[in-house]
């Protein structure tokens, strides 16, 4: 069974028909990239999976680990094992780094509190210590307000924050390298590879084709709400896809 399966998904922003029946399959343990230029529907794809509204998914199904999650609310999807690192990072800028990291392990109701071993228990996918090992910079800045971090640090925090979710299986990364300096792009890319090597499946949305193809196993190309190409990284590298990828 595939970990994530989008089957003929149509999504709308009000009257605008954005995703025109896309089908995407991701197997456990893969890093899959979704490429395409601005306005192709990449972020709409992420939001359709994540359960945030808009967009409105009017037809088609989204299955996660065999379960139909098409109509699930965003918080249930997050708790069910899909973490989103959204476009623009969306940190809680006036909260400290550590408070941002505490966010996704709180307020899950009394039942979840008991299930995760009582108050103070920790069921997050990665503990604070593990995250600080992965991103030492964040530990140095733990008391600092998130809004005062550099772009690269903010991106690391945005990724790290999502790894605090429990039972995380799939990570959706929406343009994680956007606006970062070239050497930082590589650092962030390496962190993503390292996270994936620990057993997480990754869907990487990118405009930075070179970096995406460096990390990914397989890719899809999206144009005007349709999947126009799919293949392995080697196939994507050899194909002339400029028509779909030039910004």
């Amino acid at each position: 069974m595939s970990l994530l399966q989008l089957d003929n998904v149509h999504s709308y922003y009000g009257p605008s028909h954005i995703l025109r029946g896309i089908s995407v399959t991701i197997e456990k343990g893969e890093i899959v990239t979704l490429l395409g230029r601005n306005g192709a529907g990449k972020t709409t794809t992420v939001r359709s999976i994540a359960g945030t509204e808009p967009p409105d998914v009017r037809s088609g199904t989204i299955r996660f680990d065999g379960t139909d999650i098409t109509d699930w609310p965003a918080d249930d999807i997050a708790m069910g094992g899909i973490g989103v690192v959204p476009e623009g990072r969306r940190l809680f800028s006036e909260l400290t780094v550590e408070e941002n990291l505490e966010m996704s392990k709180i307020t899950r109701g009394w039942w979840n509190t008991i299930r995760r071993g009582g108050l103070g228990g920790d069921d997050s996918t990665m503990s604070l210590t593990e995250l600080y090992d992965l991103f030492p910079r964040l530990e140095e800045r733990r008391e600092q307000e998130a809004g005062t971090l550099s772009g690269g640090e903010q991106q690391m925090l945005s990724i790290a924050r999502t790894l605090r979710l429990p039972d995380l299986q799939l990570l959706l990364l929406d343009e994680p390298t956007e606006g970062l300096a070239p050497q930082i792009v590589e650092t962030v890319g390496n962190s993503i590879e390292e996270i994936a090597s620990q057993g997480l499946t990754v869907l990487l949305i990118e405009q930075n084709v070179r970096e995406a193809l460096r990390i990914a196993d397989r890719g899809y190309v999206l144009d005007q709400g349709d999947i126009v190409y799919e293949g392995s990284v080697e196939q994507l590298e050899n194909e002339d896809l400029d028509e779909y990828l030039v910004v």
Binding site: P73, T107, L165
Partner: protein, 313 residues
């Protein structure tokens, strides 16, 4: 003024500030985090005052209750002080779910009209049921008279302030510290702060933001209900007190900077000082004093004392 006079004056100022603050805190948090202007918050103060009265004493009312003789449990002041906030907490939950929530996404003006209408209707309802004459809270023995306070430099080392006012000030101080601690140290407080900044992102992190918001709404309601009991024992209880408290409270919230707790505290203190000064010097200006203050403050700082964007500070 003698030392006694100054201490007495300060406690008048502080106790008035405390009442405003207890009401304004809930208003400020809900305005700041949910972008909801809740004039119906005054209903909670009004209901608190009357429910407290019914718990504390047994009175002859006018209105529909005129024929009923003595109405009320008569359990005394302390049970009223403890039970009223609990009742108003529950009323706050009902208000959030059925009145506030459907209007979170609406225009400020829609919210204002609806909640203002609810306040007026509630006041009229109270007037019909309880009559239009005022009622006074019973004061237990230990709450009457003055309390001795140590003051440096006075020959006997003591000065006096009215006991009830000291109680109001101390209780308010504790409750305000509690709300700051709630925002800083509790999970729900963190969720409210995060949800205020980006509620969709909070949801993507698995947090059901509706619940923390409901809790904070109800806590604000309980504070207003408690203020109703305290205000009722400082002043008269009439059907018009909801309006009398909510307008100055809203002015304080705006003066302090919408959503800023620190600003609301400072705004309430200034309003209390102005109130006490006007009472002392120009009693006819007492009611107007806060608006004069607001004109000055908002001219100097158009976005309020602390134009904060973050809740809980």
């Amino acid at each position: 003024m003698s030392i006694d006079g100054i201490v007495g004056f300060l406690f008048i100022a502080l106790s008035v500030a405390s009442l405003y603050l207890l009401v304004a805190v809930g208003l400020s948090i809900v305005f700041g985090s949910l972008k909801y202007v809740n004039m119906a918050h005054g209903v909670l103060y009004l209901a608190g005052a009357y429910i407290g009265l019914l718990i504390a004493s047994s009175n002859q009312y006018g209105g529909l209750l005129g024929e009923a003789g003595q109405v009320g449990l008569g359990w005394g002041f302390i049970p009223a002080l403890v039970l009223t906030p609990v009742v108003i907490f529950v009323l706050g939950i009902v208000m959030e779910r059925f009145i506030a929530k459907p209007f979170y996404e609406r225009d400020l003006l829609d919210q204002l009209l609806v909640t203002f209408g609810i306040l007026i209707a509630a006041q009229e309802l109270v007037a019909i049921v309880f009559g239009r004459t005022g009622t006074i809270y019973p004061r237990p023995e230990w709450l009457t008279g003055a309390i001795s306070l140590p003051v440096i430099g006075t020959p006997p080392g003591m000065s006096a302030a009215s006991t009830i006012r000291v109680l109001v000030v101390v209780l308010t101080l504790l409750l305000i510290l509690a709300i700051f601690a709630f925002f800083k140290y509790s999970d729900y407080g963190l969720a409210v702060r995060a949800g205020t900044e980006d509620s969709e992102m909070a949801q993507m992190l698995g947090i059901r933001v509706g619940r923390p918001f409901l809790l904070i709404f109800a806590v604000g309601a309980a504070y207003a209900g408690l203020a109703g009991v305290l205000g009722g024992s400082l002043f008269n209880v009439t059907s018009g007190i909801g309006m009398e408290i909510i307008i100055p409270s809203l002015v304080i919230v705006i003066m302090g900077g919408v959503g800023s707790l620190r600003g609301t505290v400072i705004g309430a203190l200034l309003a209390g000082l102005f109130f006490a000064t006007a009472t002392e010097l120009v009693p006819s200006m007492t009611r107007a004093s806060i608006y004069l203050l607001a004109i000055v403050v908002l001219t100097l700082r158009p976005n309020g004392i602390y134009p904060s964007t973050e809740i809980g500070q």
